[in-house]
């Protein structure tokens, strides 16, 4: 198979686009798609200060790399969940990327605050680990944005993450989540940061290929708590459909983007921290109260910005 652009031997076949590309042309293709997504859907605009949520996996590390390569200078946030070697290896890979990019990464350690890793914390909360993890991550990432002056939280959700979540929400008609999967989730001044997903139209396969071709050192091992995740079953089903009919996943999501409607939701705000909540206090502040934890939440900072930090975008 030859590269459709230059005629050299191809490194990847992209059936959804009816094309095949060599390493160099694929890297340009993917970076251009991310740039196009950012611009077309107004993910990051003049005056924005982006920060990337990094996990150490292929998607978030590649996204961090691409953002900085495209001129969207961004720092990172990592939440060390205390999942043994998995969390430690992830952190090492993130610190390496921070050093390569000459950017700062904020590190929040779950164990330092709660004296428990996420699994033990989840047991104490009587929640599944993924639910506790999501709650802690949402709070801490929002807190970094609000406290440190970042205006946009950038996440590495890809086509497969979004299509599988949408599929699950449709399958069980989870109306409360159905219209909350767009690639831009608007913020509320002083309460909630804007969230964006520049990889919304990039597949997991493309992101893994990008990481390999750019020599991005990511953690290959899976989070041990994701083994039985339903999202993996949905991803498997969608990939079967994709094999039979290339382009299914991207059409599914693009159709959603055309139909999505903004639902204005009545919000309460936590009486303690001011972040959105569904009661008088948010779940995170309730948790702090339950464990009698007082005082400031501490973020370790690794690396330094090569420019004044945070950096306001001029696009």
């Amino acid at each position: 198979m030859k590269c459709r652009v230059c005629g050299q031997p191809a490194n990847i076949n992209l059936k959804a686009y009816n094309t095949a590309l060599c390493a160099e042309d694929f890297i340009s293709f993917l970076e251009n798609r991310v740039l196009h997504t950012i611009k077309k859907y107004h993910l990051i605009e003049d005056g924005d200060i982006p920060v990337v949520a990094v996990s150490g996996g292929k998607d978030s590390l590649s996204l961090w790399h691409i953002m900085n390569k495209l001129g969207y200078g961004a720092d990172g946030i990592y939440i060390h969940l205390g999942i043994g070697e998995y969390s430690d290896i992830s952190l090492t890979k993130i610190q390496h990327m921070a050093d390569t990019l000459k950017r700062k990464v904020y590190i929040f350690n779950v164990h330092d605050l709660f004296r428990k890793g996420i699994d033990e914390l989840a047991r104490a909360m009587r929640r599944p680990p993924c639910s506790a993890c999501g709650m802690v991550k949402r709070y801490i990432m929002n807190r970094v944005c609000i406290d440190k002056g970042y205006t946009v939280l950038v996440t590495g959700h890809n086509i497969d993450d979004e299509a599988s979540a949408l599929f699950g929400n449709l399958l069980y008609w989870k109306r409360e989540y159905l219209w909350k999967k767009n690639m831009v989730l608007h913020g509320i001044e002083g309460h909630l940061s804007k969230k964006v997903k520049p990889l919304f139209l990039c597949s997991e396969r493309e992101m893994a290929a990008y990481a390999i071709l750019c020599n991005i050192d990511y953690i290959y091992e899976e989070c041990p708590f994701s083994v039985d995740a339903k999202s993996l079953v949905y991803k498997g089903m969608l990939n079967k459909l994709e094999e039979l009919s290339p382009g299914t996943k991207i059409r599914f999501l693009k159709g959603y983007v055309k139909m999505v409607k903004e639902e204005v939701e009545e919000r309460d705000y936590c009486a303690i921290c001011g972040y959105p909540s569904y009661g008088g206090k948010c779940n995170f502040c309730r948790l702090l109260e339950r464990f009698k934890i007082q005082g400031n939440i501490y973020f370790e900072e690794h690396g330094a910005c090569n420019l004044d930090s945070p950096q306001r975008m001029v696009t």
Binding site: M1, A10, N11, I12, N13, A20, A23, G57, K58, D59, C130, D160, E204, R205, M207, A208, A209, I212, L213, Y220, E222, C223, F225, S226, V227, A229, S231, L232, K235, G236, N239, K240, E242, E243
Partner: protein, 62 residues
């Protein structure tokens, strides 16, 4: 050829196309990338008996 997969190393004698090798292991082109001698390759690539092959799983959960 030497195939690295799922933490194991296996030896296969017969040369074959990448697409056939994926079939042999019941793997999908959508969910696995194939590296031959350190180079990412497409499914029509022929793999020789002295080549080193690695599968890379692309699906992550959670």
């Amino acid at each position: 050829m030497r195939v690295e997969w799922d933490g194991r190393a296996l030896e296969l004698v017969k040369p074959m196309l990448v697409s056939k090798l994926l079939e042999h292991f019941s793997l999908s082109n959508e969910t696995h990338l194939v590296i031959v001698n350190g180079r990412l390759v497409t499914e029509d690539q022929k793999i020789g008996k002295d080549d080193e092959v690695k599968f890379v799983r692309v699906v992550s959960g959670g």
